[in-house]
């Protein structure tokens, strides 16, 4: 292990790009789990589903980011359906639902993963685009262009979502329902409809995140497993319900992973996100900016 400042700097820069990507990937979970309290273990699986959807659309010659955007309304409807089902089957029936709700999403993730294997096989799939395969030279470093593109889209996505939640009426209703459902009911709004809408948005965001995922690198059906660790550690580190915290937490994770990857190798990298998660849960479970 050679320690050099240049190597560290490169790791940090790469980590920032990666971290923003992780934040974008996790922000859907920040809404569905952080705000709505749904134990959505299947979020990464749905994101991978989005990656494969992007792959299919790209076969017709479309740009992957465009494909992701096209998928968003489809996934929005899908998300609303999933939440409605979850609500009717579990949340409505009370406290015993805790175990069964988690088991349900676990089963859902399994079904999605196996469905993808049956449809596409276990081999890795990737897409092509103008910006995939080229690198940009910044100073002495070579940064792959696709990471910059993903970084850019991630920033736009997160800004849009944060603005939506704080500036629009529906967005603020979503934040309100997370804090005080009873008060919302008294105001005449229907919390279930709002949560359904929010879950739909979270799922749509997951679709675009899936597109970014396949831009950054090849995907395979089992990829959701490592992303369970990454997304949940970001959301928990951020503090449930904090959008700005998601960006900070994503950066922390990205930089940590990048440094470990460059200095200790790939065999230790998966442990970083999960290790971070355990540390946060043990020391400060409410995260950096928790409610």
């Amino acid at each position: 292990m050679v320690f050099s400042f240049d190597l560290l700097l490169e790791a940090v820069v790469f980590g920032i790009l990666l971290g923003c990507f992780y934040a974008a990937v996790s922000i859907g979970l920040s809404v569905s789990f952080g705000l709505l309290d749904v134990p959505h273990i299947a979020h990464p699986a749905i994101m991978v589903l989005g990656s494969y959807g992007t792959f299919v659309i790209c076969r017709y010659g479309f740009d992957p980011i465009v494909a992701g955007v096209v998928l968003m309304p489809v996934f929005f409807v899908l998300g609303m359906g999933v939440y409605r089902f979850y609500y009717e089957a579990f949340e409505r029936r009370g406290s015993e639902a805790g175990v069964r709700g988690i088991a349900f999403f676990f089963g859902l993730a399994l079904i999605i993963e196996v469905g993808l294997i049956l449809a596409f096989g276990v081999d890795q799939r990737s897409v092509e685009a103008v910006y995939i395969g080229k690198s940009l030279s910044i100073g002495e470093m070579r940064v792959p262009l696709r990471f910059l593109v993903a970084f850019g889209v991630a920033i736009v996505l997160m800004t849009a979502l944060t603005l939506y939640l704080s500036k629009t009426f529906t967005g603020r209703a979503i934040k309100a329902v997370a804090q005080d459902e009873a008060a919302l009911r008294l105001m005449g709004a229907n919390p279930v409809r709002i949560k359904q809408w929010a879950f739909g948005i979270a799922t749509a965001v997951a679709a675009l995140a899936g597109a970014l995922l396949i831009v950054i690198g090849p995907v395979e059906p089992g990829l959701d497993r490592v992303y369970i660790g990454r997304t949940f550690s970001v959301v928990v580190l951020a503090g449930l319900g904090s959008m700005t915290g998601t960006l900070a937490a994503g950066l922390i994770l990205g930089i940590s992973e990048s440094i470990v990857l460059m200095h200790f190798g790939a065999s230790w990298a998966p442990a970083v996100s999960f290790g971070l998660l355990l540390i946060v849960l043990g020391i400060r479970p409410q995260g950096l900016f928790g409610r």
Partner: protein
């Protein structure tokens, strides 16, 4: 009156920027019937949660029976004699009414490592006695998720009583009940107090609170705005303002 059983001094609790309790101080004597009123959101349930141990207060002290209990988890406070019922009943839904009472009997009163044949039978007798007092004896083997509202409220009280408490906190046990049912519950609380149990009653049903309490404290926005006998409370302009709005 007897000596002070529960002394709450300067208790404060914040949730983020929101101050739910702000420097609340109350002293309750042993055997007293104490009423706690206040509009929704005034901090009544938060205060109860801090006393029972479900929440940790941020500042101040809570002394029960001469002992500072602030650092104790809820189950140890129950073992020392503080019992509470829940505003929205939380029965152990997979258990029968009788079994619901077995939990505090086993964990507070008997605490045996192995429930031997004798201890289990003895505990069951004790549970049945409590159910008879409360009026739930015929429902002993009914699954607790099949009870009516008033029966659920009675179960909450019965389960709290099974912990053999010195202090019983009744959190809105009468909310949403018919006037007959309110009288039933009120009678139970009077009977319990007559047997020596200190009772804190949180209620919105003013008639019940007035009839029951020897002393009343009114909370608003986390602070005490009035303290005194039922007669003086009813006439207090601050209390009227708190309930009806300025």
């Amino acid at each position: 009156m007897d000596k002070i059983l529960l002394k709450i001094e300067g208790v404060s609790k914040h949730f983020g920027g929101f101050s739910a309790l702000d420097g609340v101080s109350i002293a309750i004597a042993g055997g007293e019937r104490f009423g706690l009123i206040g509009p929704n959101g005034s901090g009544k349930t938060t205060l109860i949660n801090c006393v029972a141990g479900s929440l940790r207060h941020d500042a101040g002290s809570i002394v029960f029976d001469g002992e500072e209990v602030s650092r104790l988890p809820a189950y140890q406070r129950t073992r020392r004699g503080i019992a509470r019922s829940f505003q929205i009943p939380r029965p152990f839904a997979s258990m029968s009414v009788l079994e619901n009472l077995m939990v505090p009997l086993e964990y507070v009163v008997h605490r045996g490592l192995v429930v031997t044949g004798k201890t289990e039978a003895q505990a069951q007798d004790e549970a049945m006695a409590i159910l008879r007092d409360i009026g739930l004896a015929e429902k002993a083997v009914t699954p607790s998720n099949r009870l009516s509202q008033v029966e659920l409220r009675k179960l909450e009280l019965a389960r709290a009583m099974a912990a053999r408490p010195q202090l019983l906190i009744s959190d809105e046990a009468m909310a949403g009940l018919s006037s007959n049912e309110v009288s039933e519950v009120l009678e139970i609380l009077f009977k319990l107090n007559a047997s020596g149990i200190t009772i804190i009653m949180i209620e919105h049903i003013m008639q019940a609170v007035m009839k029951f309490s020897q002393r009343i404290v009114c909370l608003d926005a986390g602070r005490i705005i009035c303290e005194g006998t039922p007669a003086s409370i009813v006439q207090n302009p601050d209390v009227q303002r708190a309930y009806l709005g300025a």
